[in-house]
Amino acid sequence: MIYNIPYMASAILVIVGLYAVLFKRNLIKIAIGITVLESGVNLFLITLGYRENAVAPIYTNLPEGTSIPEGMTLPVPQALTLTSIVIGVAVLALILSFAVKIYQHYGTLDSREVRRLRE
């Protein structure tokens, strides 16, 4: 049971993020929603690499007498999560700068009014 909590948390984060993107009309809040969604996915990824009673996958940090490689968590999901975080930073920065520009042009951050392009 206790090991399922991170999965539940990631599901909740994804749902909260999607909720924000679907129902919040403020562009900044949409950006926050995307970040929360990304965190949910990242949490899911990092949880996949967890192993019971394992140490970090770094040779220099091994406690004395630990066997290699059984006692290590998976390093691949951690690398994936890190890459995903880096991409998330870039996307977030771009979204925020677009939001600033939209505010300059439209004078509002309400997504219901940022709709010159339609039909």
Binding site: A56, I58, Y59, T60, N61, L62, P63, E64, T66, I68, L82, I85, V86, V89, A93, L96, S97, V100, K101, Y103, Q104
Partner: protein, 161 residues
């Protein structure tokens, strides 16, 4: 917005070198401990964010030019790809320095050990170039966003469309 007080400015100036050194430490030890180019770069850039908050974007923009940061970023990216291309004797991204007894070329000891800086082949070099890119990139990003905000305030008062 009020000007931050002298206390904030002084403390920020004192803490900034420590943050920078810590960030650089994380970058250089990327192949031994948790961390690496991006994490260390983010820490170092957060030092610049601290200065930005304490002194205001106008003050910082005079000291750090966006164009210089962009050049630094390009150099970081270029050295990363060059390191990858240098491995083309075998494959792209081949670790040609590992085990060569040249710089960072020692073979790491097996099992639990305190860690040897002089190992890892091209990995530490790549960490450093990524760190350079991330420091420049994140600083430029935050600086640009801060300058955006000033641009908007200026436009509202002076020349409104």
């Amino acid at each position: 917005m009020n000007e931050p007080s002298k206390i904030v400015k002084t403390i920020a100036s004192i803490i900034f070198p420590f943050i920078t050194v810590y960030g650089l430490y994380i970058i250089v030890h990327g192949h031994l401990t948790p961390g690496g180019g991006f994490q260390g770069g983010a820490i170092t850039a957060s030092g610049i964010v601290l200065l930005l908050v304490a002194f205001g974007s106008a003050e910082i923009a005079k000291k750090i030019k966006e164009s210089h940061l962009s050049i630094l970023e390009s150099i970081g990216a270029l050295s990363f790809i060059s390191l990858a291309l240098l491995g083309l004797s075998a494959t792209f991204f081949y670790n040609f320095l590992a085990g060569s007894n040249f710089i960072f070329g020692r073979i790491p000891p097996f099992g639990s050990n305190p860690g040897d800086m002089n190992t890892g082949g091209v990995l530490p070099l790549m960490n450093i170039s990524v760190g350079l890119k991330v420091i420049a990139g994140l600083s430029a990003m935050v600086l640009a966003l801060a300058l955006f905000a000033r641009l908007k305030r200026g436009r509202k008062g002076v020349r409104k469309k």
